[in-house]
């Protein structure tokens, strides 16, 4: 019965020209999106490698220089592009790709791609995630909106009922006929992507498990849509009504809810403006030790403390350069200030995330979007992780420079210059994004929401088809 | 008033109407009998220019229906098998709308007059069509014909699905219209009603008009016998 219905439904939809055309168009779009994505990915990674190498060469060849001048000269941390960004670009376009690491200051990532694009960019890009998240659900609606209503309209429904067909098996057949083609098209896309990625030259970070996880997430998303479309079709009186209702669900879930969520989240938990943020940081910095200011109250306090600790009565008697030591202490204070303020941003975002999760009740799109970005390592959390790693590296670099300055010169000796070959000693910045397991544990709530959607939609489908 | 000459319609290989020539004069009622697919409805559709003939001509009041579709429709009222009106509007509103869009502005009193003449009960005038039975909807259809002062009435299976009483009422309405000089062409399966209301009867088969009688010249059993013979149902009779 299940197989029979499946075969009949598949034949019916294949013989329908519209379905064939729609299917072909989706395939074509996917192919285009993947092609564009691969090119972009290679291009960006090439630039990343060049930039990283050039920057390191600049750093290594600074020549003889005071370590603190080098600290002000600074260095850059560049964000690599991860293989799965090919499938889901996530927020990559909207976050910067390079962070300037300098003394006294934590900088934000600069130069987001969106800022360098025209207003057209805001319509969205032709990327696989756009097709996976928006167009395939539309395809499901197109394939399935009249699954049940057409039987009623053609009168075949009463005939089927009089044959003693089991509702459940009948519905399963219909479900399969929607699921199998969607499964096939998605599997094809993921398979091609996987093969493409594993054939790219250095695919070091690419893992099949992540791709598979993503695939499972999208299949969950589609199953929810299939269930919703079938529920509507089994309850609606006419095909037209079923179509309009299914589309309304799509509009609400994929277009309206995310935008509304973003507005509500911003209104309820706003970020400070860039200038406000800078002003707040400055204010807190002033309340503590400034490494460059030996006359401040905090400096004097530190002086007394260090003198007491070493049991000497003049800074010149200390075994290290106190200027550099103070510089390092100031650096630590500033790092703390930044830590506090960036944590405030994170808290705000955590609050915003709650709004998004709350609205996931009306939109399975939201948890899917967040999970997909997370697995692709293109989400906001990964960006934070990268920024934090860069900040840790910045702090370590400052310590490396200040310690060298302190140990190799005497108090007041600002003219000290480190050797030309000293700079090579600084370890280079390496960033490893979180592993899949870690990502999934961080996103358990989204997984639960998606699971709840699945369970709920399945049970409603079962109940409605029973009483059809 | 209604006439066709060598009217032919082919749908691909299938010839639905094959060189059909007939004529219905003022005050006449021609009933077309025939099995499903004999070409009765296609003939009516060609008279209305719903489908264009492959060859031959259909004329209404001397005008070619294909070349002057809008002009000829001024004389025609058509009541399809299942007459559907606007369910959200009342009987009187439907009548007003269909008269109005063809440029006939009617006063409220004449609207009620036509509905009354068509035999609709007074309490139904202001009820929405969604509550109406098929018989009641047909009465509104007749009222539309009356309001239009129609010269030609085309009916497609008007009595199917009507109970005998409604069917009888409908027959009486047709007699009344015929009396006013309306030429009526009616496609039906209902031999009894055909015998009662028609002035002429024709039997169609495979798109051809194979038998034609004056209604008064034939009795009902004879009509049935001829009909079945034409349809090759001889074995049923013997």
């Amino acid at each position: 019965m299940i197989i029979k219905t499946f075969v009949k439904e598949t034949k019916e939809s294949w013989r329908d020209g519209r379905v064939r055309i729609a299917f072909l168009i989706v395939l074509l779009l996917l192919a285009m999106a993947v092609w564009v994505g691969v090119r972009q990915y290679q291009n960006v990674n090439e630039q990343y490698r060049t930039a990283k190498n050039t920057e390191r060469i600049l750093w290594d060849n600074q020549g003889e220089k005071n370590p603190h001048s080098a600290a002000h000269y600074g260095t850059y941390a560049f964000k690599p592009k991860y293989p799965l960004s090919l499938v889901d670009q996530g927020v990559d376009k909207y976050v910067g790709t390079s962070i300037f690491l300098e003394a006294h200051k934590r900088n934000e990532a600069q130069f987001s791609a969106a800022a360098d694009q025209t207003g057209l960019a805001r319509f969205g890009d032709l990327t696989p995630d756009f097709i996976l998240l928006f167009i395939i659900p539309l395809l499901i609606i197109l394939l399935g909106y009249n699954s049940f209503t057409k039987e009623r309209e053609m009168g075949t429904y009463t005939l089927l009922k009089s044959q003693g067909a089991s509702n459940w098996k009948w519905a399963m057949g219909k479900w399969m006929s929607l699921f199998i083609p969607i499964f096939a098209i998605t599997a094809l896309l993921f398979l091609i992507t996987g093969i493409l990625l594993s054939n790219l030259k250095d695919f070091g970070v690419f893992k099949w498990q992540s791709l598979l996880t993503m695939f499972v997430i999208y299949m969950g998303y589609y199953i929810i849509f299939i269930n919703i479309v079938l529920i509507i079709s089994s309850r609606a009186k006419k095909s037209g009504i079923a179509l309009v209702l299914s589309l309304s669900v799509w509009i609400l879930a994929c277009l309206a809810a995310p935008k509304a969520a973003s507005n509500i989240a911003e209104a309820k938990h706003p970020y400070p403006t860039r200038q406000e943020f800078a002003a707040n940081v400055l204010k807190d910095k002033k309340d503590g030790l400034d490494g460059h200011n030996p006359w401040s109250k905090e400096s004097k306090l530190l002086e007394q403390q260090v003198l007491a600790e070493h049991g000497v009565d003049s800074l010149h008697q200390l075994p290290f350069n106190f200027d550099a030591y103070r510089m390092q202490k100031g650096e630590e204070h500033e790092a703390e200030v930044y830590f506090k303020h960036y944590n405030y941003l994170k808290d705000q975002f955590a609050q915003q995330s709650k709004v998004y999760k709350g609205l996931a009740i009306i939109s399975p799109y939201l948890p899917t979007r967040f999970l997909s970005m997370a697995v692709a390592q293109t989400d906001y959390a990964t960006h934070w992780d990268f920024a934090d790693a860069a900040e840790d590296y910045r702090i370590a670099t400052q310590k490396f420079l200040n310690d060298h300055f302190a140990e190799n010169s005497n108090y007041g000796d600002w003219s000290y210059q480190a050797d030309a070959n000293f700079w090579v000693g600084l370890p280079s910045f390496e960033y490893d994004p979180p592993e899949l397991g870690e990502i999934l544990t961080d996103n358990t709530s989204s997984l639960w929401i998606l699971g709840a959607w699945l369970a709920l939609s399945f049970s409603i489908l079962l109940i409605t088809t029973k009483t059809i | 008033m209604i006439s066709t000459k060598d009217l032919t319609k082919k749908f691909g290989d299938l010839t639905a109407v094959d060189h059909l020539s007939l004529s219905v004069k003022e005050g006449e009622l021609l009933c077309l009998l025939g099995a499903n697919g004999a070409g009765k409805s296609t003939t009516i559709n060609m008279l209305l220019n719903f489908v264009a003939p492959t060859s031959g001509s259909a004329t209404i009041n001397g005008l070619d229906a294909t070349r002057h579709p809008i002009k000829t429709k001024e004389f025609i009222t058509y009541i399809p098998e299942n007459l559907m009106l606007y369910p959200m509007l009342t009987a009187i509103e439907n009548l007003d709308y269909f008269s109005g869009i063809t440029g006939r502005q009617l006063a409220q009193s004449s609207l009620t007059g036509f509905l009354e003449e068509a035999g609709l009960q007074k309490d139904a005038f202001h009820k929405r069509i969604s509550t109406f039975s098929k018989g009641m909807r047909q009465k509104v259809g007749i009222a539309i014909a009356l309001a239009k002062d129609t010269k030609v009435l085309l009916l497609d299976e008007p009595t199917s699905g009507l109970d005998p009483k409604a069917s009888n009422e409908f027959g009486n309405l047709l007699q009344k219209l015929r009396g006013k000089g309306v030429a009526i062409l009616m496609a039906t399966h209902d031999l009894f009603r055909a015998k009662v209301v028609a002035t002429h009867i024709g039997i169609m088969k495979d798109g051809k008009l194979v038998q034609q009688f004056v209604a008064d010249d034939i009795s009902l059993p004879q009509l049935e016998k001829t009909y079945l013979e034409t349809m090759n149902y001889k074995e049923v009779l013997s």
Binding site: A115, T118, G119, F130, G240, A267 | I76, G100
Partner: protein, 475 residues
């Protein structure tokens, strides 16, 4: 026919509760989105006002400090922040360079969520490194904003599709078409009238709800010409979609097919064409890599630092006006720094300009091709109307750079003349006033949209002959 269609269409729409449903929906959508827009604009205003107030406050304390120093009193501030030094004023007392919202800013968020609306350029800061992006969660940027432009560009067409996809096909499916088609009227004209009437009623609803919402939101100095621009855009965009619905109603067939076709067109015009154009713009006029720009910038700076003394000498020779009254010939860190910064800036100008020219090329290219999708025409025009388009932010950026140039120059003459900054100099500090772009191009956009709609409607009537030959219900 029109009179009767008018009367009865309204009755049917009222009885089937379409009008009520649409009014409610429009009120909700317009209300929510306008409220969102207004909230954003308010926040923007408050932020700018607060920043300006802060400048006023710090200016007061600066004047107090100056006063104390001038009267020879001891001050507790760090020596390099004391405002008698012109560079201290130039760096620690920057002005707020703000882009004030336009009166219609609440209509479209446009690029307003990406870019900041005020910066405080200092004399030593790099202009090209000035960060014009706003601190926003990228998730918000990704999802976009539920603003009026979103409702008009994305949702209004969907409402129109739901409202008009089955005007003819439902008559066919319910059976009333046979009676209608037997009347001496042209079905094409009848469909046209029905759709125009629906367009008329929807327009009435849209105009009333929009005006109502705008009045409630109460954007103070309402510029009515701009409100008319907004209404004109919305209505001509609606007419475009009704014309499409007209064509689809005539040529497609069953309700389901109509709905699917119209929806397909929606996906094409609203989602696909813009993203493909964007992709193409990026491929045709690729942005040079920002990461590589950083490399370049750093290399030039290293160069400049090495040649500091030489640069300063050259600079002073080239710009005698900066040091006409200087007799002391004192040279500090800043003398070197400012001179080499100027050199680096001049050297980097072509690199930085490359971004602007590429962006300009992309923009003019997409402007030329925007007629391929009315959705782009409307979105861009709404952005222009709101003063939140890419061009507006570029205009702002240019003005900021010009201002920071004049700010720097103002202090350069102090610096190289080795004169001190005094209390009376405070009133002569450069002030910034944002000048919005003049033309919005809305009338042109409306004309383009109307032309598209007319072409579609004309197409509907042009092929009339062919179907008349075949008969109305040929299929």
């Amino acid at each position: 026919m029109l009179r009767y269609n008018f009367i009865y269409e309204l009755r049917i729409l009222l009885r089937s509760r379409w009008i009520q449903l649409l009014s409610l929906l429009l009120l909700l959508l317009f209300g929510f989105s306008a409220f969102n827009g207004k909230e954003k604009v308010e926040k923007r205003k408050v932020d700018i006002a607060a920043a300006k107030q802060e400048v006023l406050d710090t200016d007061q304390s600066m004047l107090k400090l100056l006063d104390s120093v001038e009267r020879g009193m001891a001050v507790s501030a760090s020596p390099w922040t004391i405002p008698t030094s012109p560079m201290a004023v130039a760096n620690y007392y920057p002005r707020v360079v703000a882009m004030d919202p336009q009166p219609m800013a609440f209509v479209s968020t446009g690029q307003a969520d990406i870019f900041t609306h005020y910066v405080k350029p200092t004399a030593t800061g790099d202009d090209f490194a000035l960060n014009f992006t706003e601190m926003t969660s990228p998730v918000q940027l990704l999802f976009g904003s539920f603003d009026l432009a979103f409702v008009i560009v994305y949702l209004l067409p969907l409402l129109i599709i739901a409202f008009s996809y089955n005007v003819l096909s439902s008559e066919k499916e319910s059976g009333s078409l046979r009676l209608l088609a037997s009347q001496p009227i042209s079905i094409r004209k009848w469909v046209f009238q029905k759709l125009i009437l629906r367009f008329f009623w929807l327009s009435v609803l849209v105009v009333t709800t929009l005006v109502l919402v705008i009045l409630i939101v109460g954007i103070q100095p309402l510029e009515w010409s701009k409100v008319f621009g907004l209404l004109g855009l919305a209505l001509s965009y609606m007419l475009f979609w009704f014309s499409l619905a007209f064509l689809v109603n005539l040529y497609v067939g069953s309700s389901a097919k109509n709905a699917v076709s119209l929806l397909g067109l929606w996906v094409v015009f609203v989602l696909l064409v813009p993203s493909v154009l964007n992709q193409l713009a990026g491929t045709l006029y690729p942005m040079p890599s920002r990461t590589l720009m950083i490399n370049e910038m750093r290399e030039r700076k290293v160069e400049a630092t090495k040649r500091q003394d030489e640069i300063l000498d050259n600079f002073l020779r080239d710009h005698p006006e900066y040091a006409i009254n200087d007799s002391t010939q004192t040279r500090s860190f800043y003398h070197n720094y400012m001179a080499s910064q100027k050199v680096v800036k001049e050297e980097l100008a072509p690199i930085v300009n490359a971004y602007e020219t590429q962006l300009k090329k992309q923009q003019s290219w997409s402007r030329q091709l925007q007629w391929t999708s009315p959705a782009i025409v409307v979105q861009e025009s709404l952005n222009n109307l709101s003063g939140t388009s890419t061009a507006d932010y570029e205009n702002y950026r240019r003005q900021v750079i010009a201002f920071s140039e004049s700010w720097r120059e103002h202090f350069m003459s102090f610096l190289y003349n080795n004169t001190l900054f005094k209390s009376e100099d405070h009133t002569n500090l450069p002030q910034f006033q944002y000048h919005a772009l003049g033309q919005s191009g809305v009338p042109k956009a409306i004309l383009i949209l109307l032309a598209m709609a007319l072409v579609l409607l004309g197409l509907g009537f042009a092929v009339q002959g062919a179907t008349r030959q075949k008969g109305i219900l040929a299929d």
